[in-house]
Amino acid sequence: MPNPAGERLARLSRVATIRAAALTGRLGPDQHGPDPHGASDLAAVLYRAGGCAPSREIDARWPQLLLRRAERPVRAALSGHTRSATAAWMSWTRTDADPSQLVHKIYVSPGLAAMAEALTTTFAVAIDLGVPAWKVGADVAGLHRADKIVLYLPTGEAADRAASALAEVLNHIGPQGVPFTGQVGATGIVSRGIDHDGTSWRALVCRSLADALVAARAVAGPTAPPTDVADLAYERLADLGFDVTTWRPQQPPHPTPQPQPQPMTTGAVR
């Protein structure tokens, strides 16, 4: 499929949308029970777009090594942070931060070969700028997601400043890139999002887009080309307040999308 013009992340998002549009109509009611139009599957396809698969040779402890090396130069400064772990994420949160206020997100998405440098740089910048919290994929699968490093800030202005600083120092590193996030800088290694009511930015976008694609297919008919279905879906999303050209986050998209029959739990995908 030819690549659409525009910024890198916008192009990746558009390609993922058109591919998901091609799936609409092929996910029938008998196959999907309580989710008769397959919107959950579509949302998952959109959400997982931009990831990559771990090679067989990767050692399961590689993330530990990367994090040790990223932490080492700033270890003294990290004493003011709480380090916590879940199965999916390693997180650092400043002890004076209020996590409920940290909804403005920066995604950092380097290619795998540059993970060590990108992580070390990101930790250093996060400390320098006083970023209140950030998290990194805790295992090999997590480092292969598109959104493998996420920083959290309390205001859009602070997040924009930090994102610009990161984009500048990471400019020379090959990106992987996070679809459906607002690109910052030239390469797509850094991008922005904003969580809403406890739902992650990409979960919100991908679920809303999946529903819009199902609705658009119903209007356009079974033989309509995927690009037409995608365009119709984008129109619906634009009406909801999403910037479907750049995917730069708005606060909040208006009107807020209606609750869905099978809402994604603040959900990322492996």
């Binding site: 799936l23 996910l27 990559c52 040779e57 402890r61 999916a88 540059a114 994604m264």
Partner: protein, 460 residues
């Protein structure tokens, strides 16, 4: 007083994490060396009753009152669990020292000998590690040993070994001070990673050349230490730090055997893959473990080399303790191919010699093991072949022809879609291609064999 009369309680510094998928609860105690324990939600509900001091039977009766379970059957089922929890210090005698929450012995900014403490590395119930700094700005580590039973001996051995090995592949002992329950050491900072991890390249894979270099550097370090009459006794990857240039430093000499130092025989570790067969046999039969000697340390080093080269233990030791000890005592090392590494017959042969059950059949010294491995490593590993792997051109063509504007997309039924998804996934794994990954997912959903939506979980 019998166990039934004793009051127990759940310490305040026990943390519990509920597994959202399974209903199990992962329970751990801050600062404890005991690994986290996995409990059923029912067992955790019972354990939580000990937030207030209770007898074991009192807690079981209270649990049965609230759940309606049969007290006798519940006591029979729960008693072994509760006893096991007392052994892991998750359930402790009410009012005892063990019940007290862990409090750090030092704090940032405090002066310890010539060092000022700048950051916490680790605080455990029997020891602490802190980053520190000297007046001239040199980074150091402040190590506190604090255990009434074993602390004084651990401290004496470590300080004695480091003094003897000064200038060798060990941290420099800057200052030390004995205390009743151990002591404090200020050591030069060592910049490095556990040697097994340091063998990984920028993409997280284990390169044969880097790994063998680290093995040889490690064996050189041990040969130097042995030459000064010190046996480490605690050979494992976490005690061997390698920097990004491949320089190796050995740490933690608390159970070292030091010739002619008047310290007596060193205590032996109670398990782990570096245990030699004679020690494993003795532990298995409840007999005294033989004193550490160079043949036992050579065995440990061969086991360590196997791990650095493969990322895996030389035996499958994911077994009950007795079975694991028996395996160490009796089973030969597994081939590299069994742990997914290319065959390397010459190197595997040298390691098999180092891992011989009969000490007399092993290399006599660490230096001999090093020289044998250096010679064997000149023969390159056998190349791996995968008959099913696509060429680069074939892989590119598959990806290009699998997009939604191709004929394949228009014509495929579910079965052919599944085959194509598998082929794309194989390309994605072999190449790391994002495009292949995304198309594999698309085709998998198209085939209807994969409910991608089921795998949605924690926020991203």
């Amino acid at each position: 007083m019998s166990v039934a009369d004793l009051g127990f309680r759940l310490p305040d510094d026990v943390d519990a994490v509920h597994d959202p998928d399974g209903g199990d609860v992962i329970v751990s105690r801050r600062g404890s060396r005991t690994p986290p324990q996995v409990l059923s939600s029912d067992a955790w509900a019972l354990l939580e009753l000990f937030r207030e001091p209770r007898t074991l039977t009192g807690a079981v009766l209270a649990h049965c009152t609230s759940t309606g379970l049969d007290p006798v059957a519940t006591l029979e089922a729960a008693f072994p669990v509760l006893v096991a929890l007392t052994r892991s210090e998750l359930l402790v005698g009410a009012g005892t020292d063990a019940a007290a929450s862990l409090v750090a012995r030092h704090e940032v900014g405090e002066r310890v000998g010539p060092a000022t403490v700048v950051a916490r590395i680790r605080v455990l119930r029997d020891s602490e590690l802190w980053d520190g700094i000297l007046e001239d700005g040199a980074p150091v580590v402040v190590k506190v040993v604090d255990d009434p039973a074993s602390g004084p001996d651990l401290f004496r051995r470590e300080a004695t070994a480091l003094r003897r090995l000064r200038g060798g592949p060990v941290p420099n002992l800057v200052w030390s001070e004995p205390r009743d329950t151990g002591g404090v050491l200020v050591l030069s900072f060592v910049d490095g990673d556990p040697v097994e991890l340091a063998a990984l390249d920028a993409r997280g894979s284990r390169g044969d050349a880097d790994a063998i270099s680290l093995v040889l550097a490690t064996l050189d370090a041990y040969a130097a230490v042995h030459a000064r009459g010190v046996l480490h006794g605690d050979v494992h990857p976490g005690n061997i730090l390698a920097d990004e240039q491949g320089h190796v430093t050995l740490i933690d000499f608390g159970i070292a055997d030091i010739a002619d130092a008047g310290l007596g025989p060193a205590p032996r570790t109670g398990g782990g893959e570096q245990l030699d067969p004679a020690a494993a046999q003795a532990l298995r039969h409840g007999q005294p473990v033989p004193e550490l000697d160079v043949t036992a340390e050579v065995y440990s080093l061969a086991a360590l080399a196997f791990r650095i080269l493969t990322g895996a233990a030389y035996l499958d030791l994911d077994l009950e303790r007795d079975d694991a000890l028996d395996a160490i005592a009796t089973r030969p090392p597994r081939p590299f191919a069994d742990v997914g590494r290319p065959r390397w017959p010459a190197v595997e042969g040298v390691l098999a010699c180092g891992l011989a059950k009969d000490p007399a059949a092993r290399q006599a010294t660490a230096a001999d093991l090093r020289d044998d491995l250096a010679r064997a490593a000149r023969q390159v590993p056998a190349p791996t072949t995968d008959a099913g792997e696509l060429t680069s051109a074939e892989a590119s063509a598959l990806v290009e022809n699998s997009d939604i504007d191709g004929l394949a997309w228009a014509d495929a039924d579910e079965a052919t879609a599944a085959v194509r998804a598998d082929a794309l996934q194989a390309v994605a794994v072999d190449t790391g291609s994002v495009e292949a990954h995304d198309l594999a997912l698309l085709w998998r959903v198209r085939a209807g064999h994969h409910r991608a939506g089921e795998r949605l979980h924690t926020e991203g």
